[in-house]
Symmetry: C2
Subunit: 286 residues, 2 copies
């Protein structure tokens, strides 16, 4: 059985009853899919209390992005989370905090924004200049409200993950960040709600995305010339939006292979823009 | 005797020895004057432990403001704080945290900024667009490092005070903010390091600043027409930069006298620009 709170007062009262329990946080905007479910399962496995937040955050939508049309599927989301509750240790708490109004997260007059700076303006941030500031601000609020010990995010949105990690580090917020590996289909394509738009031939074509990332990773790990390969790949196919090897701490291009790296790519298969990435742990590229 | 720490490691170790003591924080950029001294004395009176930070914060200087030339007078500052230590209860701790490098507050790669939004862009922020973001960011860091229970600021810089209060409120940071009333000379002029530049005649002329603020306050408290008085005052003398009645929670012009108000003014006496303000508590204007 899950516990559901929709007001700050009820949630705060519940939170005040927790003392030494390990608390996990899975922040979501609802409309839960397999990726979210794997995060919730992981959090429930590792913590005594798992708090799933469902809040469509207005601050991460740009002026031309349709906040009002974002799918709100609370009943289905609660049913999915309830199904997880049946599978976990009955002594553990699975809690949903679904604020019933924006003012619960951003009280009247709220005006503060937290920005991690340059790394929010690149790649997925380049056409959404305020998006990641909205993400960091809501994640800050959710951590502050839940006082969780570990927060769970999916590696699929790696720029988001690394921006949040940067905020946590810079502001010395006492929480661990767990980045859940990308879930892939049997062929290796990263699962995404966008995959449903791919035709059969586009689905085949899309495999160039994970294959290319794997190739770059292998070249790095074996100390071969990955840079020429990247340049040649981009030159040969104009469907790449970007393919780059970055320092994971600041999302800047680097050739320092002793740091943690992230290989990021965006590729257009037909009309569908697909994202994928690989994290290369520190010193493995050395 | 005072305790002085210049590294994070030493400071953190000291902080870890504190358990239930009440901790006060007085953030400064050094070059201490009477205003700072009164804040430190107040904090030492109210707390078991008073932490004075001395850190010239690069983030609050604009590109055309001379960070390098800001006066650094650590020896004199420590002497002044030591003099206070002689006067307070010997069981109380008076601590100086004076980071010996910028990296102690902003480690390499630090990029996060906290901005309170529109109220940072008005009045003193209008020609210093990033100044108050720098202030909120360093105050956040200092609160985070010291984990103080109360922080002390001078009402002279009222916009700074109210921006910090806004950050504390929005981000739900568990600390009290104490705003120390403005210290005035026997005639009523707010003390300021800029007063030394006033000639005798300018010093007389400058009295229009506190007198006008007092008059506006009186009109508000007695429910008389303060607006016409403000308009006429500004029209009669072009030495006013601004004279306005604002909502203290957002620094916006208001006619709602049930909220906490702040009457702010900037006045040019000769070449010297003087600031002053009066806080009108909630419902006193009703």
């Amino acid at each position: 059985m899950i516990k559901v709170f929709t007001t700050r007062k009820d949630f705060d009262h519940y939170r005040s009853t927790l003392t030494t329990q390990a608390i996990g946080l899975v922040p979501t905007m609802g409309n839960l899919h397999k990726g979210h479910i794997s995060l919730i399962e992981k959090a429930a496995e590792e913590n005594d209390v798992t708090i799933v937040t469902i809040f469509v955050n207005p601050k991460q939508f740009g002026p031309n992005e349709d906040f009002d049309k974002y799918p709100r599927t609370l009943d289905e989301d609660l049913a999915r989370i309830s199904a997880i509750a049946l599978l976990i240790n009955a002594k553990k708490d699975l809690v949903v905090f679904a604020p019933r109004s924006e003012e619960i997260i951003y009280p009247k007059g709220y005006s503060t924004m937290i920005s991690v700076g340059p790394m929010t303006q690149k790649f997925e941030g380049s056409v959404r200049p305020t998006h990641f500031d909205g993400v960091t601000t809501v994640v800050y609020q959710l951590i502050s409200i839940t006082k969780a010990h570990t927060a769970y995010f999916g590696q699929k949105d790696v720029q988001q993950c690394l921006i949040i990690k940067k905020m946590i580090k810079d502001l010395e917020i006492p929480i661990n960040i767990y980045i859940m590996p990308i879930v892939r289909n049997s062929e290796g394509l990263a699962l995404s709600s966008r995959n449903q738009y791919l035709s059969d031939s586009e689905r085949v074509e899309a495999m160039v995305l994970p294959h290319t990332l794997q190739k770059v990773e292998k070249l790095i790990r074996t100390k071969q010339d990955y840079k020429t390969f990247v340049v040649e790949t981009l030159k040969a196919d104009n469907k790449w939006d970007y393919l780059e090897v970055l320092d994971s701490s600041n999302f800047e291009t680097t050739t320092d292979l002793t740091t943690e790296l992230v290989i990021v790519a965006a590729y257009r298969a037909g009309a569908t823009r697909l994202l994928d990435n690989i994290l290369v742990p520190m010193n493995l590229g050395k």
